[in-house]
């Protein structure tokens, strides 16, 4: 790495600022990625603990292929190779967290390439993606190879069960797992995203480090709890089968809801920037999760919810507070 490239990776995100003097908080892209990596570690460790080497294999493969794809793309198009800022590595890790531990290698490779190419680079690279890249890869794989993305079919030797499938087809009361074992990640799902407790720990760390703004995850979780409670209590009056409307805490403890709230919905390029927009974005994500879980075809609504809601982000970005001194008289 030459000195010039080193300077580029350490470059601070620069915003066009107005005249007042501002203090720089010292955030760098690679610094934020380091924080995200630390936040992902507990869930990754839990995944390896439960699923063993296959989980480690999926994570390493996805992260490696993502970084390689980004480097090759930037090289081929004559752009500055900025793969050292680790954004591709983290994107690959996020993508791996949504895959089942037993995913075949070719699925991981194709998915990682699509994640970087379709999700990020065709739109112009870092900061230009309209959707969270990991979700683009995940959605392509879910549409292309649904059986190979099914955690039940891919982890046949595992003693765990997929609570979402139970809740979808047998009603939530038939789901035998206790809240404690759900929290400890004793369930099938995305290899990292199902480690509920560890993901929550990492998410709180990111919020505490201000790598992500607290508004989006909070609004997301409040939205899930609020709309989940509405359907739980009033669903029967609205004609919803009460067996398919679980109590709100079960939305958080199963599937990838928490992972989506802390890691996917907070993708910096595809989420709104102002307070009002962030709150509405989070609430809409929460509503979509509940709607897809109750009425949808897919058992886990969270990734699709974030994907769909990110399309509305340009609208939410229209909501912004008036500049100081320019308000109403």
């Amino acid at each position: 790495m030459t000195q010039q490239e080193k300077n580029l990776t350490e470059i601070r995100p620069r915003f066009v600022v107005e005249t007042p003097p501002y203090l720089h908080r010292g955030y760098t892209i690679s610094g934020m990625m380091r924080d995200t990596f630390i936040a992902l570690l507990p869930a990754a460790a839990m995944a390896v603990y439960y699923f063993g080497i296959p989980a480690l294999r999926v994570m390493c493969l996805a992260a490696g292929v993502c970084a390689l794809t980004e480097a090759l793309w930037q090289k081929a198009l004559g752009q500055t190779v900025r793969v050292y800022d680790c954004t591709a590595l983290i994107t690959g890790l996020l993508f791996a967290f949504l895959l089942p531990a037993g995913a075949p290698w070719w699925l991981v490779v194709v998915g990682s390439v699509l994640t970087i190419v379709l999700g990020k680079q065709v739109f112009g690279g870092l900061g230009c993606n309209p959707l969270c890249p990991a979700l683009v890869g995940w959605a392509s794989m879910t549409v292309a190879w649904p059986t190979y993305m099914d955690p039940m079919a891919m982890n046949l030797t595992s003693a765990f069960i997929d609570p979402l499938v139970r809740m979808k087809f047998f009603g939530w009361e038939a789901m035998p797992l206790s809240a404690q074992s759900l929290l400890l990640g004793r369930q099938l799902g995305g290899l990292g995203s199902a480690q509920i407790g560890a993901v929550l720990l990492g998410g709180l760390y990111m919020v505490a480090r201000k790598t992500v703004r607290w508004e989006i995850p909070t609004a997301f979780l409040v939205g899930v709890l609020f709309f989940g409670a509405i359907f739980w209590q009033l669903g029967e009056a609205m004609g919803v089968n009460p067996a398919s409307a679980p109590p709100p805490h079960l939305y958080l403890l199963t599937g990838s809801t928490l992972f989506a709230a802390f890691f996917l919905a907070t993708d910096h390029a595809s989420s709104p920037v102002a307070f009002g927009g962030m709150v509405l974005y989070g609430l809409l994500c929460g509503l979509m999760v509940v709607l897809i879980r109750i009425f949808g075809y897919y058992p886990d609504g969270a990734p699709f919810a974030v994907l769909v809601t990110a399309l509305v982000t340009p609208m939410f970005d229209l909501i912004r507070s008036a500049p100081y001194g320019k308000g109403r008289r």
Binding site: W106, V110, V122, S140, V143, A144, W145, Y148
Partner: protein
């Protein structure tokens, strides 16, 4: 003869409809699930395009300017009904596959675009050559796109399985998103190829053709 060849050959590469003119995208995206569908659709378009071009060129001097669009569409619609009945009679399975997109050839931009931009201003033999060239270009493009999607999405070509054992079909390609991804990729590839070729030949970079290219340039 030379001018006929010129009008014919431009449709094959320089103005190949879905990739250069970017016209007729609705069937391009919707029916190219397999190479056979793409080919059938292309054949129907060739039939309609050649006949409507010839017809419009033949009556171009007696149609009043103000009502020309209506006349063009009426003539194209007649041809489309003819091709629809013919397909029902002779290639019924293909007709069922293409469904609504056969009647929709009437509103295909290529038909009206060639009528307005070329057939209404040129003699019959040139109009026929233009229609045939554009039609064949369209067929080639659709068959290629359909073949590509079928190959990766189902592992077969024209209905015959060709991929090696153990290949798991990439179903995304035969779904709607696959059509957009494929078309976008091919457009990028075409542009890349053009740039490389013109750079190698020492020519200027070509400007993207507006609707129907330079033959309908207002300054000519």
């Amino acid at each position: 003869m030379a001018s006929m060849w010129k009008e014919f050959s431009k449709g094959l590469w320089a103005e190949i409809p879905p990739f250069r003119l970017v016209l007729g995208l609705c069937p391009t995206l919707a029916v190219t699930k397999s190479a056979e569908n793409g080919f059938g659709m292309g054949m129907a378009v060739i039939f309609v395009l050649v006949l409507s071009n010839v017809l419009i060129s033949a009556v171009r001097k007696i149609i009043p300017k103000k009502v020309r669009i209506v006349c063009f569409i009426a003539m194209a619609a007649t041809m489309v009904v003819a091709v629809e009945l013919l397909m029902q009679a002779f290639t019924y399975p293909l007709y069922q596959q293409l469904g609504i997109f056969v009647p929709l050839i009437v509103v295909n931009c290529i038909i009206l675009g060639r009528a307005e931009a070329f057939a209404a201003k040129n003699p019959i033999h040139l109009a026929a050559a233009d229609g045939l060239g554009i039609g064949i270009g369209y067929t080639l493009a659709l068959t290629f796109l359909g073949g590509l999607r079928e190959l990766f999405g189902a592992g077969s070509l024209f209905g015959h399985y060709v991929m090696p054992e153990g290949f798991v079909p990439f179903a995304l390609m035969v779904e709607a998103p696959g059509a957009f991804i494929c078309l976008g990729g091919l457009l990028a590839l075409m542009n890349c190829l053009t740039i490389v070729m013109s750079r190698r030949g020492g020519r200027e970079l070509p400007v993207n053709a507006p609707c129907g290219a330079d033959c309908c340039d207002a300054n000519k």
